[in-house]
Each structure stands twice: as structure tokens, then as C-alpha cells.
Symmetry: C2
Subunit: 285 residues, 2 copies
């Protein structure tokens, strides 16, 4: 398989590394706006060739797009324009509705499959490529009814080779779920990190207390500004709704604390505790 990966960062690199391992005949062409990333990926051995975008797209059987979701909207129509007749493309972005709308009327819409691996860390760049990150994780495929069934089947086969579990849903449904389950968590982590950093005098203390709950709640605050600026803006409407719900919850806590309302605090936290059941995989009450 001739695979072109556009965007040689954490996710694009992980895809290339993993497919080379599980799909032995994979030959990888790398494209990245940053020439240093191309050099680094070739040196690390998970990219074989490099070429300008149009040449790399024309060469490929499969084109994977792993750039931030904002730039992705500009890039995808160009990729579709340049694909050879039997080739197909998929993305690995964190938001889906705006991207799918962008190419809804493209004559080669069927040569595209919208995908999102629910996997990642707070690290970024080619150095963060991993070859076991996708294993056991979910790959969401969106509006597959608009894609060529052969392309969908090939992507499904690749995902299964990477030991990923498949989920199917609409693009809007995807974005609403992700606002709750991923985007809000990132927003709260960034804000938490900023709040603590503002209290500069506590810096030594934060360091001393890395073993506390703080480290796990602020970990996502290390995530890439480039990537998350794109995600937050692309998923603006669902994210703002979810953020308002969250701000209301904080407000309930604030009021209960201010009024010494022991009962209200206990009740709020007892309700929140129900998250244990879900995080531990017991989905029915």
C-alpha cells in the first residue's frame, strides 16, 4: 500500500508507525509544512519518501490527513482534486461536521472517509509518534453512507489490523459527544493550569505536589495550542453549550460553599460520584 500521510505529528506519525508494523507492505510518503518534521520522520524511519503535496497525493493509494482541523478544511478539497481514480482519503481530525460540510458537494466526496481515533496524549510533534497508541482504542467513522463502500471496507480492515474497535455515527452527533467527553476536559485543564500559574509564588509548591490530584487534572493543559485552537473554533456551538452547563455546575458549588450548605454540597458530590460507575464500565444503574 502506498500511503501518503499529511501532517507528521503525534497522530500522523502514530498512524505511519503502526501501519508499517501491522501491514508489512506499507510504503509511506510524508508531507508536512515544516521541513524539519519531514527530516525527523525520515530519520526515525517511519517515512520513506517526501514530495510536494500534489505529487504526494497523485502517488498514493491512500491519503491520510492528520493536520489541525482548521487547516484541514482547506486541504481536503485539494487532496480530493488530486487523488487518482482508485485512491481514497481519510482524515484523523477531532471535529467532523464542518469538514464534512466543506466537501459535501465535492464530485469526489465518495473517495473520502471521515474518521477520528479516540486516542492521543498531551504530547505533539513527530517525536511523539508511538506504535502502540491506537491498539485497543476506538476509531469513529462518520457518515460512511456518503463514502465509497470499498474505501470504507479498506479503512475498516486497516483499523482492525491496528486492533482498533469501530464506532459509526453522524458528524453532528460526533461533535456533540466529543464536546462533552474530550473538548470540555481540555478547556478545564487549560484553565486550571493558567489559574495556578498566575499564582507564581506557588510555583515551588506545585512542583512539590506533583503527586496530588492536580497533576492528573492539569495534564491536558500541556496540549498543543495549534491543534486545540482549531478544535475549539470548529466545534464552537456545542462546546459553548457544554461550557455553560459546566459553569452552572461550578456556580452551584460556589453558592453551596458560600452559604455553608453542607447538604447541598454532599448531594452535588454524591451525584458526581456516579461517574465511577461509568468510568469503570458499569453502564446500567
Amino acid at each position: 500500500m502506498k500511503l501518503t500521510v499529511i501532517g507528521l505529528g503525534h497522530i500522523g506519525g502514530t498512524l505511519a508507525k503502526t501501519l508499517r508494523r501491522v501491514h508489512a507492505s506499507t510504503e509511506v510518503m510524508g508531507v508536512d509544512a515544516n521541513p524539519a518534521h519531514v527530516t525527523q520522520a525520515k530519520a526515525a524511519g517511519w517515512v520513506d519518501h517526501a514530495a510536494p503535496l500534489s505529487e504526494a497525493v497523485a502517488w498514493a493509494d491512500v491519503v491520510a490527513l492528520a493536520v489541525p482541523v482548521g487547516p484541514m478544511k482547506k486541504l481536503l478539497p485539494q487532496v480530493l482534486d488530486g487523488l487518482s481514480a482508485d485512491a481514497w482519503s481519510f482524515d484523523l481530525g477531532s471535529t467532523k461536521l464542518a469538514l464534512c460540510e466543506t466537501i459535501a458537494d465535492h464530485p469526489r466526496r465518495a473517495q473520502f472517509v471521515a474518521a477520528h481515533p479516540i486516542a492521543g496524549t498531551e504530547n505533539s510533534g513527530p517525536g511523539a509518534a508511538m506504535d502502540n497508541l491506537f491498539q485497543g482504542k476506538r476509531m469513529i467513522l462518520c457518515e460512511t453512507e456518503k463514502s465509497n463502500p470499498k474505501a470504507v471496507q479498506q479503512l475498516v480492515d486497516l483499523c482492525q489490523a491496528m486492533q482498533m474497535e469501530l464506532l459509526y455515527m453522524g458528524a453532528q452527533e460526533h461533535d456533540e459527544h466529543l464536546a462533552y467527553i474530550s473538548h470540555l476536559s481540555h478547556l478545564t485543564s487549560f484553565s486550571l493550569a493558567l489559574s495556578v500559574l498566575q499564582a507564581e509564588k506557588y510555583e515551588d509548591m506545585i512542583f512539590q505536589f506533583a503527586g496530588s490530584g492536580f497533576a492528573s487534572t492539569a495534564r491536558l493543559g500541556k496540549s498543543s495550542p495549534e491543534m486545540w485552537t482549531s478544535i475549539f473554533l470548529e466545534n464552537k456551538a456545542p462546546l459553548l453549550r457544554v461550557l455553560d452547563t459546566y459553569t452552572d455546575m461550578l456556580g452551584h458549588f460556589r453558592q453551596a460553599i458560600e452559604q455553608d450548605d453542607t447538604e447541598a454540597l454532599r448531594r452535588l458530590m454524591a451525584e458526581a460520584n456516579d461517574i465511577r460507575r461509568i468510568l469503570e464500565g458499569k453502564t446500567s444503574k
Copy 2:
């Protein structure tokens, strides 16, 4: 050493288990308002005896208090009243100022050392007792100048035997640090868990995405309502100040997202990224 532990939960149990391991002659008397906890701790083998409070206090060389910080304020004066002349007591609570003020004028103030282990998980109860939780963690001692130097030295020796690192500070300073580094993280996790739970229809999705950032940011939402109601109310003033800073940060994000302000978003997240330096232990810029 005859050690009485009052409160046979996650922290009290961990103390008893650890000290039995590292300080071979430790004999443990357990006290808990819940008789089932006493039975469970004796069955698990980390409590030798049980007795009513006054008897258990009179018996001990050392009394450790590991109950929620609200009840602790009522309990500590009683414990000091009942201590024998050579005995001493310490607490393991998460807030310090109100507790220290409560016994500031107690005739036996010097027989008390205020302590707080920066260690814990979201689990609670005797079943959550661990014997390696404290190892490598910090123990904060507050206003030790008000304690009998011999008692302080004995507690320092016990902490070192448990391989804990010691930190010294004032009670008010302690509470302000902890509001930033621990209490706010818990408040945001509880609120995050509640927000997502409110969207009941997403429940299956949450479960599917346990590998995402959500699990780490919402983990503390499993914590004990009993314990955290006490902490939030005992540390009300610093916590509300910190919560306001945090709410401001969320507001900056909200505004930037609403106005499609790419530059503001990037700047906010780039600043937040500085948390990496601190979490990874590089404290100087």
C-alpha cells in the same frame, strides 16, 4: 509504640498499615464511629484492638486523627484532654488554619502536631488502606513552633521511616497552597463529572471513551462527599478566591471562542503549556 488511630478510612488505614510495616513494635488501637469499619480493619489485620474513644486515647503513646476536617475540630480538644502526660497527637487533615485556631489556647496545645500527607486517591473507606501510598510523598507539618520539640522529632522520625519528605509551613500558608493545588482540582472534577452525567444520553459514549482525556480530568469526581464537604467549607475563603480566578480564566476562553479570536486562544494555551515545565519538575524558567 502504642498507636491509636481515630478514623479507619483510606488515610487512617494507610497510616496504620505502613507504620506496622516500617516500625515493627507498633500496636494499633482503632476507633471509628462506624462499627463495621472497626470489624473490617481488625479482619484485615492492621488494627489489633478496639475501644471507646476516651479509653483508646488514654491507652496511647501517640494518637493519630484521620477523620474529616469538620468533625476533627470537635474531636481534637477531647483527644488533648484525654492524653496521658507523655503522649502526643497529630492529625492528617487537608486543612489546617481552623483546626489550629480551635486548639490555640488549649493547655495541651504543645502535645499536638499539625500534619498533612500530600497523598491520597479518589477511594475511601478501610478497604482503600494501602501500605505503599505514603512512600516518596510529602508530609507537611504546620506551626511546629507551637508543638513540643520531642513530639515533632518523633513524628519526623516516623515520617522518615515511611520514606516521606518533610515540608514546614504556617497553617494559613498551607491552606492557601492547597486551595490552588488540590481543592480547586477536586471542585473542577466534581463539576465536570456532573456536567457529563447531566447529558444522560451520552452515557454509553462516556464509557466508550474511557481512554480519552475525560477519565483523567474526571477521576477526582469519584472522591468522598463526606471528606470534601468538610474540606471545601473549612477552606472557604481561599477556595472561593481561587475559584474566582479559575472562573475568570474560563471566561477568557469563552470570549475568545465566541469571537473566533484565534490569537487570543493560542496565547492562552501557550501560557497554560508552561505547566509542563512545572509538572515535569523544571522549576526555573
